[in-house]
Symmetry: C2
Subunit: 498 residues, 2 copies
């Protein structure tokens, strides 16, 4: 087979993988937005087959031979194809270590688990979720051994979400943050809290939907390529760089929840929509890693969305949409309210300062659970104890405790730390962006095009063309978590007059 | 290979076909309900691959050998497996006659075409749609030759939608109806028309959504297994007998449109939800043919939904949901209004009496288009001429003319006649149902359980276990289109005092 024929076969292989992924995504999107309640069975059959076909494709001798042939001829490949073959060979190796029947069983389990988790959360009943969580954890421990038997299981899983990251690295990262956040939090809590009661007035869902549309416009999200849906737990789903979906959840008695969900998921969507055309329908399409992805969502949510200039820019529109609710509120008050620090129970509603503490709880639990030193039945107890220890709050029930997140029901163990890494990357990106251009002048006029262009050039366009560490280096320089700590100190000192 | 192993392989093959179908359905559902506008490209890639994989599965020598082996051992198969193998062999033969590249190209074309058709309809511009319609017609003429080169192309296509039906049969069927409908229509039009202006008062969409939910409840559609969405053109989509979707479109100035869309699609959904468990995830799952399917939707829409007892039963709820709009309207007036006869432009808004005339226009056009005696560019002219001739109305523009239906954009030529056949089957089913039980007493109390049980036993449960003609025989006895003509005569004579 000559190189051209091999490249044609590679393109066909990638299109097939894209199709299976798009099909699974579509079924997932449907399941979480519009599917009737008791329909998991048939979807499980379909998802199981699709996962099995994908697995078979990776495991087929033909695929291995094709990739080996292309690897031998790698000197003749351009940068894109070189990266593509390298990543595919890695993915292939990882996946083929999992026996096909286990892989299919796992796909069907995660499909079932999301329904069980939803019911357990609704009914506030951890026992309902426990048996599937046990199976999910057991599968992940086994898979970790397949991925890299030389690593501790949790290290092997972490490496799948953010290559190069392990427990040693994260223990240090979190220790640095904890040492800076805890005294800062204490100083903040000693001050008078701003009034944020107006955020929990009655905000009708229809007006909130209009607000979402406005926020997407300000973010520069093209609605011809990006739709918004409604789900229990907001997420972003990408089909390709011309078809991205975000979701939110509306709470009539809480304006900030959906507002910052939209800005957060909008940040993810900006990334996906900004990836270059060249890598579409290949394994290099889409954001490069969870951590880099979170850097983008958090950049928009916290660094832009919770900044004074941004609030000033959008406040007139908010007053228009919610004239009665915000009649007695100024932009300054709103800015202080959405930056109010308050140790709380729910991660997705946490303020920027305590957020990392929520992550540390999950990190500590996952570390033990996957490490085999914590039984699933003991998760609620440890969860509650750590929330008391790190955040000083008492967890009253599972719904506000260890049943709050969807991640574990989707089989995602090792994902949470990337949220904290993303926050830290984002702070360093902002520092560099401020050195390159006037960030806040345009933002205060509601013009995010400069921000968008900078992130597009430094992060978005590459997709998987660079390694995660390469993208971080490109946008952050040498990564240094103290930049994030400095940012938090500066921000909250100003807000609370420390 | 022994029989048990062959049956296990058959089940695996069927599951795979189910998965590809479910995946394509999910992508279609998404495309028509929530996908952003400019996203057809990526979906086309995925749908093309899925169609190609399905095609490859059918065309693979292994599949042929498996089906041949099972066919040789057919004496050892139970009724279900026997039918399954027979139908799969037929489907396999039909599909493998289409070359894989043409099949994939066609899948991508129909995906593209639905977007083009939507824009053409929006912009009222047939020229925009013409090039894709030309391609679609050319593909279908070619495919007809693959299906059965001994038949005229249109006969070959008709046979795919309703096995055994051809132009000779339909020419006779439509002639019978025309001979009875035309004088009846003239008699009706000579009488004073009932007032139906109140149907076009302002009916807020939110209240109409509640009305849809109520109608689904009355029909006995379990919302845990049947969801409702909103699309330009209402349709029913089934994943399996526990997961069915219907869609509707709300017009704030027209109560009847969505009302009867919901009851119509609800009839399709009842059928799909009523198919027995044994045939799920096989080629025998789902309704057996387009004609039988339409008999169910029309049974609920027209024979039940437009009956006086049904209107009496639901009228109190309507008065509750639309108190001002219906303040001066009685159930009797409502019943007369939704049965008002008026030759019109739009098929989906046509009354029960003139509906078949709309179908005859499409039948005549398809017959010539696929027969090669009509060029696509001349479709609007012939459409407009036939509407004038059959219905006496002038077509002012494409949107209200030949751009109104989605069918051709989906590549469906030969589908329309099944609508008329379905109406005729339904009338004969009602006659037999009335002989078996008290239909109207329970219906007048809003209790459709008896109707549902009768149709469940006579039609729904079989799925594809019987041939279409077998189901028709089971529920209708010997098919006789004059029963439908008698029904129309009796109904409209009473309504219009003829």
């Amino acid at each position: 087979m000559d190189l051209n024929e091999a490249l044609a076969q590679l393109a066909e292989l990638e299109k097939k993988l894209y199709a299976y992924q798009a099909a699974s995504s579509s079924l997932y999107l449907d399941a979480t937005t519009t599917a009737p309640r008791d329909t998991a069975e048939g979807r499980g059959v379909a998802l199981g087959v699709l996962a099995g076909e994908r697995h078979k494709l990776f495991a087929s001798p033909g695929t291995g031979e094709l990739l080996n042939l292309l690897w031998e001829k790698r000197d003749g490949l351009d940068r894109l194809r070189f990266r593509e073959v390298k990543e595919l060979r890695r993915a292939c190796a990882q996946l083929t270590r999992i026996p096909p029947d286990e892989y299919m069983e796992y796909a069907m389990l995660t499909n079932e688990a999301s329904g069980v988790w939803r019911r357990a959360k609704e009914q506030n009943d951890f026992e309902l979720f426990r048996p599937v969580l046990e199976k999910l954890a057991a599968f992940n421990i086994k898979f970790a051994g397949y991925y890299d038997p030389s690593k501790a299981p949790y290290d092997a899983l972490l490496n799948e979400y953010e290559r190069g990251v392990d427990m040693e690295y994260l223990d240090g990262f979190f220790a640095t943050l904890r040492a800076r956040i805890v005294p800062l939090l204490q100083a903040v809590m000693a001050k008078e809290a701003p009034d944020d009661s107006f955020l929990r007035r009655h905000y009708p869902i229809e007006a909130q939907r209009k607000f979402s549309a406005y926020l997407m416009e300000v973010l520069g999200l093209d609605r011809a390529h990006c739709a918004i849906g409604e789900t229990e737990h907001p997420y972003t789903l990408e089909f390709n760089n011309k078809d991205v979906r975000i979701t939110t959840r509306y709470d009539e008695d809480n304006l900030a929840f959906s507002m910052y969900s939209v800005v957060h998921e909008g940040g993810h969507a900006k990334y996906e929509l900004g990836v270059c055309d060249e890598v579409q329908y290949t394994c290099l399409a889409g954001g490069v890693s969870m951590g880099v992805h979170e850097s983008q969502s958090r950049f928009y949510e916290n660094l832009i969305g919770r900044s004074r200039p941004f609030i000033e820019a959008i406040f007139p529109k908010m007053r228009e949409l919610f004239p009665e609710q915000l009649a007695d509120v100024t932009a300054e008050q709103f800015h202080r309210a959405v930056n109010k620090v308050r140790p709380s129970l729910i991660r997705t509603e946490a303020d920027e300062l305590t957020y990392c503490l929520h992550i540390m709880v999950r990190y500590e639990i996952e570390k033990r659970l996957i490490g085999g030193t914590l039984a699933v039945k003991d998760v609620p107890e440890l969860w509650n104890r750590l929330y008391k220890e790190y955040l000083g709050v008492d967890v009253p029930c599972g719904r506000e405790g260890c049943l709050q997140d969807s991640h574990w029901s989707g089989g995602d163990f090792g994902y949470f730390p990337s949220y904290a890494l993303g926050s830290a990357y984002a702070a360093q990106m902002l520092k560099n962006m401020e050195a390159d251009m006037d960030v806040w002048g345009p933002v205060s006029r509601g013009d995010l095009s400069g921000v968008s262009a900078w992130l597009g050039e430094k992060v978005h366009k590459f997709g998987g063309l660079l390694e995660p560490a390469g993208v971080v280096k490109n946008a952050c320089g040498q990564f240094d978590p103290t930049v994030f700590a400095d940012y938090l100190e500066k921000k909250y000192s100003a807000l609370y007059g420390l």
